[in-house]
């Protein structure tokens, strides 16, 4: 039998559970979490009890869960999957609900490594409080358990995750892994969030376009918008498949470096098309905070800055491209 591109029964169940949690529990509180720069503690506990995160969950299932959460609230998704992309490197220390880790790809070399200690500042991490930081510096991943300072900053989006400047002052670090593997996990994680955010924005705008009428018919039935809605749907699906490919590769123990770089580059490109287009579909209403599309647009812009941003992913993919065999594998 040749290739399959479907979720297993179990994966579908996970997806359904995550979707129900997101729609029933997160949706009513999107704006309050945004204002509070955090997710209500009882929801953090509730989500942890569902068992959809944690160490035993592979990259593929994680991608499915993140998409569902981010389709409602990307910031809350970052907060709820608190150990997030650091999980493959942390082992069982992440069992507590509310545990937060950030993984920083130090592409601009803000940090200096001297005698096993890191020094320097990173302008933004999506958290107000952390339990551990993983810094990808050069070709190694370093685990930082102490010696940081977080100063709150005002982010463009993802408020529910928090936002701070991260300063390390001679923080003792341990090299835990090869940075390439850590980067592949990080990029896949961010890309999954982007897919969710884009899907949320697209679906909301699509429904709105069926209710809003102009020139005597639903605006979705004007071809200019119908085509845009079709293109945005394709964009979301294209990005999702790229993420699934990378995540499945990671779970099979492949390095998936190229796949993960492509997943982030694709998800960022497509989500950055979807976010502003969704606002455009709502017109003036899209610009107002009465609707969530403006939030998704900001969240997408913010998400696409994680993991060294789209540039780092594209540069990585470009470095690998001349060696890449594009044939059927």
């Amino acid at each position: 039998m040749s290739f399959t591109l479907a979720l297993s029964e179990e994966e579908r169940l996970v997806q359904e559970t995550a979707r129900r949690f997101a729609e029933d529990r997160l949706l009513p509180r999107v704006r309050s979490h945004e204002r509070a720069r955090g997710v209500a503690p009882e929801l953090v506990r509730e989500f942890a009890a569902l068992g959809l995160g944690g160490v035993e969950v592979g990259a593929f299932v994680r991608a499915i869960v993140l998409e569902e959460l981010a389709a409602v609230d990307p910031g809350a998704a970052v907060a709820l999957d608190g150990a997030g992309p650091a999980i493959p490197f942390l082992g069982r220390t992440t069992a507590d609900p509310g545990f937060r880790a950030v993984v920083v790809d130090d592409v601009e070399e803000h940090f200096r490594l001297r005698d096993g200690r890191l020094d320097g500042q990173h302008p933004w991490v999506p958290a107000d409080r952390i339990d551990v930081a993983v810094i990808l510096h050069g070709d190694r991943a370093y685990l930082v358990r102490e010696g940081w300072r977080l100063d709150a900053v005002q982010p463009c989006g993802l408020e529910a995750a928090g936002a701070s400047r991260l300063a390390l002052a001679n923080a003792p670090v341990a090299a835990i892994d090869d940075a390439a593997r850590a980067r592949a996990h990080l990029r896949t994680w961010v890309a999954a969030l982007l897919v969710g955010a884009a899907r949320g924005a697209h679906r909301y705008a699509m429904r709105y376009a069926l209710e809003r009428t102009a020139f005597g018919r639903p605006i979705a039935h004007h071809q200019a918008l119908a085509f845009l809605i079709a293109d945005l749907a394709t964009a979301v699906d294209a990005a999702r498949l790229a993420v699934w490919r990378a995540a499945a590769g990671l779970d099979r123990g492949e390095s998936a470096e190229w796949e993960a770089a492509c997943a982030l580059a694709e998800a960022a490109e497509q989500a950055l098309l979807v976010g502003p287009s969704a606002v455009q579909i709502l017109g003036g209403h899209g610009f107002m905070k009465d609707h969530p599309v403006e939030k998704w647009m900001r969240d997408i812009r913010t998400l696409a800055g994680l993991a060294g941003g789209r540039d780092a992913a594209e540069v990585a993919a470009a470095a690998l491209a001349p060696e890449h065999e594009a044939g059927l594998r």
């Binding site: 479907a6 593929f60 394709t234 699906d237 294209a238 492509c262």
Partner: protein, 393 residues
């Protein structure tokens, strides 16, 4: 979890296509392009592949699910087009004439019209004729008429851009019995070679895909036996006329998308190999970073496009609705492939725009993939109909 392994059996088939491609498809495609003339039907290559039991339909099966069905179809379609898309259409066999015969034909019709294709001595072709000079995307607007006259139907009209029509044993010709009825008035006829009134058969001159012939012809009071009405009267009494045509498109759209990916992959390989052999990419020359970026974008887009094709094909094989997914695959793959071939031209620099560079041929070839079997715009209409109920005009 998804699994993208294609399996040993298909891998072996792919190897066969690779050998055929390297030795024949690509050289013949390039030769046809340089000569500005299709590969003639009596070329020994066609007789050879026909005797080997190759030839179309490689991408389209009698029944979805048979021999790996749609998944096998997209994988082989990509590989054939990787070597030369023009040659893959020129391959002898039923081509697009197959699906309507299989899905609409009566048992007697299948027996009769498949018979010549069992002769392995001499290659045979069939063709499918819907498009007219005045009706492309808007297939409901075809003007070729069919009028019943005793035991025959008399066809009047003109068809254009029909692949392999000139060398076909028979052509599935779409005509209307009632123009006011739109699609419900459509009927499909099998018009055999030599039928009086099947006239003015001529080559069209294309910008690319030269290896196969695209022909136009006139139906001048062309009498077709009533027995050649595909599916018989009963089929149309159930008002399935247009659906018959659309069904064949549904089956082939993912394969057409895969062909676009195949062409893009050929461009990627050519550009990558050129870059490797002509540029020292690790030197800090600004343009080289752009070369890398272009290669990366091409590789990424063709990978994602392939995943969209594969998803549509997978859904077809497990008999789930794939209309939206097939259209997404085709819309995405065709535009990405156009972009990729254009980027390949840029990677080669000045050499890119000369025939020696090969990629300029791919740039010309691939444009058709966003036009045939539903333009990119039609694919968006299909998607939007399903997503937001976009009404017909």
């Amino acid at each position: 979890m998804i699994d993208l392994a294609i399996g040993a059996e298909l891998e072996a088939e792919l190897d066969g296509v690779r050998r055929l491609g390297r030795e024949f498809l690509r050289p013949l495609g390039i030769e046809a392009d340089r000569n500005a003339a299709p590969v003639p039907p009596d070329h020994p290559f066609f007789a050879m592949v026909w005797r080997m039991g190759l030839g179309q339909p490689l991408g389209v099966q009698e029944r979805p699910g048979s021999r790996g069905g749609a998944r096998r179809g997209v994988v082989l379609a990509e590989e054939m087009s990787y070597w030369d898309r023009g040659m893959s259409v020129a391959m002898p066999g039923l081509g697009l004439g197959g699906p309507p015969l299989f899905t609409m034909g009566t048992p007697e019709q299948k027996e009769r019209f498949l018979a010549p294709f069992r002769d392995r001595e001499r290659p045979h072709w069939a063709a499918f004729a819907m498009t007219e000079p005045g009706a492309g995307s808007d297939v409901a607007a075809i003007e070729t008429t069919a009028v019943r006259d005793g035991d025959t139907w008399v066809l009047r009209g003109a068809k254009t851009f029909i692949s392999n029509a000139m060398r076909a044993d028979w052509i599935v010709v779409w005509a209307t019995v009632d123009r006011a009825a739109g699609r419900a008035g459509h009927r499909a006829f099998i018009v055999e070679r030599g039928t009086p009134g099947l006239e003015d058969m001529r080559h069209e001159h294309k910008m690319g895909l030269i290896a196969y012939e695209s022909s136009s012809f006139t139906l001048r009071d062309c009498p077709v036996p009533a027995a050649n009405l595909l599916g018989g009267e009963r089929h149309y009494a159930e008002r399935a006329g247009f659906k018959g045509a659309m069904k064949s498109f549904n089956a082939t759209r993912p394969a057409i998308a895969a062909m676009a990916i195949g062409i893009a992959r050929a461009a990627y390989d050519a550009a990558r190999d050129f870059a490797r052999s002509h540029y020292a990419l690790d030197r800090p020359i600004p343009r080289y970073q752009r070369v890398r970026e272009k290669l990366a974008r091409m590789a990424r887009k063709l990978e994602v496009g392939r995943l969209l094709c594969w998803r549509a094909a997978y859904l077809a094989d497990v008999e789930q609705p794939n209309e939206v997914e097939a259209s997404m695959a085709k819309a995405f793959a065709a535009t990405s492939a156009q972009e990729a071939t254009g980027l390949a031209v840029e990677v080669l620099g000045d050499a890119g725009v000369t025939a020696d560079g090969y990629v300029e041929k791919l740039y010309r070839d691939v444009k058709a993939m966003d036009i045939v079997e539903g333009t990119g715009q039609i694919q968006r209409i299909v998607i939007a109909r399903r997503l937001v109920g976009l009404p017909n005009a």
